[in-house]
Symmetry: C2
Subunit: 143 residues, 2 copies
């Protein structure tokens, strides 16, 4: 049984973010990858939809210049033949503030021929924003 | 082939939220269900971790008293033998404001004997908060 494409992609992503080496990532992204990490683009320009390998690698480069990833826990995972979904909790430090924060991210990925063709990532963005700001945003109680 | 437990749970959830009938939900939730929808509890008290059928049904009752769900699109889905993950986009109206909004939610669910034993839901919470407030929150540009 061959290794699931998710693991190869995970290692390539980790190497790209923490060591700023994108060689493995190059070989695991489809040229035409359909990519979106949903979040407030005013705060982090690397959020939002992208199309193609170059654009996705640019996103990862921006992330690597913005945060350091210390560790991650997989809280839930599903592996299909050519796809995967996972719920992760990352412990990261935004380099500007130097304060360690923790954020949940859900990924839905699809592969074709071992290469990533689609990525959708959902982030608990309000929690992220408050932690990055280092203060609470007052909210009215709705329910 | 029997129907996947997700579909039974989805119908029960829909009936509970939109028609406020929790009978089907009662029969599909495990007595000891481990439940969490991550989000700002200051704004919506039904966010956060819960344990057990009563507590989960209370959450759904609060949601049904707070929003109306118009429709949902499944943007991504994975079905396992006893689990599932999905990325959904809901179009809802918070009853207090009456303005229709749209929000992405990722679910990770596990079943045992056809009953839901675990649910984790991640919401694009900053997007949700801004839409509920009806205005943008100013954010500093970090990257």
């Amino acid at each position: 049984m061959t290794e699931h494409s998710l693991w190869r992609f995970s290692r390539a992503l980790q190497r790209a973010v923490n060591e700023r080496q994108t060689d493995q990532l190059e070989s695991v992204l489809d040229d035409n990858v359909d990519w979106a990490i949903y979040g407030p683009i005013d705060m982090f320009a690397f959020f939002g939809p992208r199309r193609g390998k170059r654009a996705a690698i640019d996103v990862i480069r921006q992330i690597s210049e913005t945060v350091q990833v210390h560790r991650y826990e997989r809280e839930s995972i599903m592996l299909g033949e050519d796809n995967a979904a996972s719920l992760m909790r990352y412990t990261i430090t935004p380099l500007k503030s130097g304060h360690r924060i923790s954020v949940r991210v859900a990924h839905f990925v699809q592969f074709s021929g071992g290469r990533l063709t689609s990525l959708r990532a959902l982030v608990d963005t309000f929690d992220l924003v408050e932690q990055v700001l280092g203060r609470q945003i007052h909210l009215p109680q709705i329910a």
